[in-house]
């Protein structure tokens, strides 16, 4: 890690997409060499499913990151959604719409709390959303007395484990969400206001943008997408996954950052996110195939975020003062 990599990073950074793209190619080749069974049909389908699930939350995370924020409460919202659907319906499809409505309201509430803390109180986003994560997780534990139970209605399973044209439904959902987000970010005033707010909040405010509203909308969008991901995950598992609510799900953040969305706000687009999602999904499925448990996956995610941010660093400080 000396001047060589730093120099390369500096050259690659303007291209932006080159680094995650080469990372993806590297992992795909390594997987092919290491585990010949990687390119089986079932396994590729798993990659596509993972990409769909991670992707939906990663789009939300991207919107928050672009506004100079970070959303660590994504995993808690997903867990809460699963628990709400399971406890409210217990497998009864007729009650599904009401349960989904409840989950959406909960998502909006959580997004609003995040936004309120960040915008109104000036709390650093990672502290605010981490605190919300702990609160929601605590609420789930207290509500279910530590043992969540209940079945997921059959109707939801088409969303989680169904296929359209041979491709898992979650990937279609991700594609739709990503397309909408890409258009909104690149082609609308709302998108331009978000980029302006993220790259220079003060200038944005002075030029008449209501930055508070822009940032708040980002957190609410992220929470709503987390609800959607929670529905997908519930439909896939078919039952409540008590573990899900307990894990601080970092996939969305890892995907966005690996893809090249800047943590400092205002830089990056949905293309980056899609690339990061693909890379992370391949990596996770490969890890599963190598027999790595939760521990290996957590370690890889942590290392990937660190490596990605490190490689993206430019300037003299990154050129290796050691």
């Amino acid at each position: 890690m000396t001047t060589l990599t730093a120099g390369r990073a500096a050259r690659f950074a303007p291209a932006g997409t080159l680094m995650p793209l080469s990372g993806l190619a590297l992992v795909l080749v390594a997987a092919a060499v290491w585990t010949p069974g990687f390119y089986s049909e079932a396994n590729l389908r798993l990659v596509l499913f993972q990409a769909g699930l991670i992707g939906v939350t990663a789009v939300g995370q991207t919107v928050v990151l672009l506004g100079r924020g970070i959303d660590l409460s994504v995993g808690a919202v997903m867990g809460l959604t699963t628990v709400i659907v399971a406890t409210q319906t217990d497998g009864d499809g007729g009650k599904l719409p009401a349960a989904i409505l409840l989950a959406v309201l909960a998502g909006i509430a959580i997004g609003a709390v995040n936004a309120g803390l960040v915008v109104l109180r000036g709390v650093p986003p990672f502290v605010a959303t981490f605190a919300v994560f702990v609160l929601v997780q605590g609420a789930i534990t207290a509500w279910t007395r530590g043992a969540a139970a209940g079945d997921i209605p059959h109707g939801l399973q088409t969303l989680g484990s169904g296929r359209v044209l041979g491709v898992p439904t979650p990937l279609w959902v991700f594609a739709g969400v990503a397309a909408v987000a890409a258009v909104v970010l690149a082609r609308t005033g709302a998108g331009r206001r978000l980029y302006a707010t993220g790259s220079n909040p003060r200038a944005a405010r002075l030029s008449g943008i209501r930055t508070g509203r822009v940032i708040a909308a980002g957190y609410i969008a992220s929470a709503l997408l987390a609800v959607l991901a929670g529905l997908i995950s519930a439909g896939y598992a078919g039952h409540v996954d008590a573990q899900l609510s307990r894990s601080l799900d970092l996939n969305s953040l890892a995907a966005a950052v690996i893809g090249g969305v800047a943590l400092t706000g205002g830089k990056g687009h949905i293309g980056h996110t899609v690339l990061g999602v693909a890379l992370l999904a391949v990596l996770i499925v490969w890890m599963l195939q190598l027999g790595a448990g939760t521990g290996g996956q957590l370690a890889v995610q942590g290392a990937a975020i660190l490596l990605a941010t490190w490689l993206r660093q430019r300037g003299p400080a990154a050129a290796g003062t050691r």
């Binding site: 803390l117 109180r121 709390v123 990672f126 502290v127 207290a142 970092l250 957590l298 003062t321």
Partner: protein, 330 residues
């Protein structure tokens, strides 16, 4: 909470009150005031139970692990950084302590020393990355939070190992209302207090947190200070892990979960600015006492244990909303 919606032309009395309140929060007085209030409430709620030696010992025991981690966090926050990995470090240290000792008395001391070294090594890595790159501390330590927790899970996903009687005694023995483990915390507090207020290093920590660029041009060894601060935080987190293992007598891969946020809460409640340069050690200790009181009162008032996470979340959220001042640096 009302200050946000208050009209611009609020009465001067109100402004003076707000100023007094924010001064109280900054000096850590607010934390101790809430502690006093809570003690009063608990005394009224359960007069027979709260002031027993056993319960006081419970409260004080609850301060040890949290206090060790919070002291490290205090230093890191003073420099304007944050260490999200302390919970994972404590977990790894607790798990390894129990697994490496595995019931053999002769291994106790070497294992504890090894754990402290491990914590210091983790701190060196954090410090070097934060000091030499422009990656924010929270990103670095968020990554290692996952990395270290992942390693702990790779070592064991189930509680395992066994500590020796001697170490378990340190975790559990008490003299009247004073647990033996409190001596560990007292020693750590003394060391950190001396470091902060009596040494050049302490002045450097404040200088780096106040304005790193100005400190650098004034000849403060900014990088060395940052590395040292993270080393102390890592070592203290590892020590907290050893205490966790001593108390549980076995090592669990979830032992330190959530400690990082508790530690941040405590420092924030104690009046520290997350922007760096300002934090009160007395306030941080007040925060430790506050959280320890809240946690131990669950058993005292016989509330369901599953609600404790919720209350912790409420306390943390309230602390974030009320104590974190609006940041003007953008």
């Amino acid at each position: 909470m009302t200050a946000v919606t208050a009209p611009a032309g609020a009465a001067p009395a109100r402004e003076r009150l707000a100023a007094a309140l924010s001064a109280a929060a900054r000096t850590g007085l607010a934390a101790w005031a809430i502690v006093a209030l809570l003690v009063a409430v608990l005394t009224v709620a359960d007069p027979g139970g709260f002031w027993t030696a056993a319960n006081i010992a419970n409260v004080l025991t609850a301060t040890v692990v949290l206090g060790l981690v919070a002291l490290g966090q205090h230093l890191v926050v003073l420099t304007g950084g944050i260490d999200l990995s302390v919970g994972s470090t404590a977990t790894l240290s607790a798990l390894l302590t129990a697994m490496l000792i595995d019931g053999y008395p002769i291994r106790t001391i070497p294992t504890i020393l090894a754990m402290l070294l491990l914590g210091a090594a983790i701190g060196v890595v954090h410090g070097l990355i934060v000091a030499n790159t422009r990656i924010p501390a929270f990103v670095v330590t968020l990554s290692t939070f996952y990395l270290i927790q992942g390693i702990a899970f790779m070592i064991s996903t189930t509680p395992s190992g066994q500590v020796t009687r001697a170490l378990a005694d340190v975790g559990m023995r008490r003299f009247g209302p004073f647990p033996l483990a409190l001596a560990v915390l007292a020693a750590a507090v003394a060391i950190v207090a001396v470091l902060l207020h009596r040494t050049r290093f302490g002045r450097h920590v404040h200088a780096v947190g106040g304005d790193a660029a100005a400190a650098r041009s004034a000849g403060v060894p900014v990088n060395r200070t940052l590395v040292l601060v993270f080393v102390i935080a890592g070592t203290l987190a590892a020590a907290a892990g050893v205490m966790l293992a001593a108390r549980a007598t076995i090592g669990s891969p979830n032992a330190g979960q959530g400690l990082e946020l508790s530690a941040i809460t405590v420092v924030v409640v104690g009046g520290a600015s997350l922007l760096g340069g300002r934090a009160s050690l007395a306030g941080t200790l007040g925060g430790v006492a506050l959280l320890a009181l809240v946690e131990s009162s669950f058993t005292l008032l016989q509330l369901p244990a599953t609600a404790s996470d919720l209350i912790r979340g409420v306390v943390i959220l309230a602390a974030a909303a009320l104590f974190v001042p609006r940041s003007h640096r953008e």
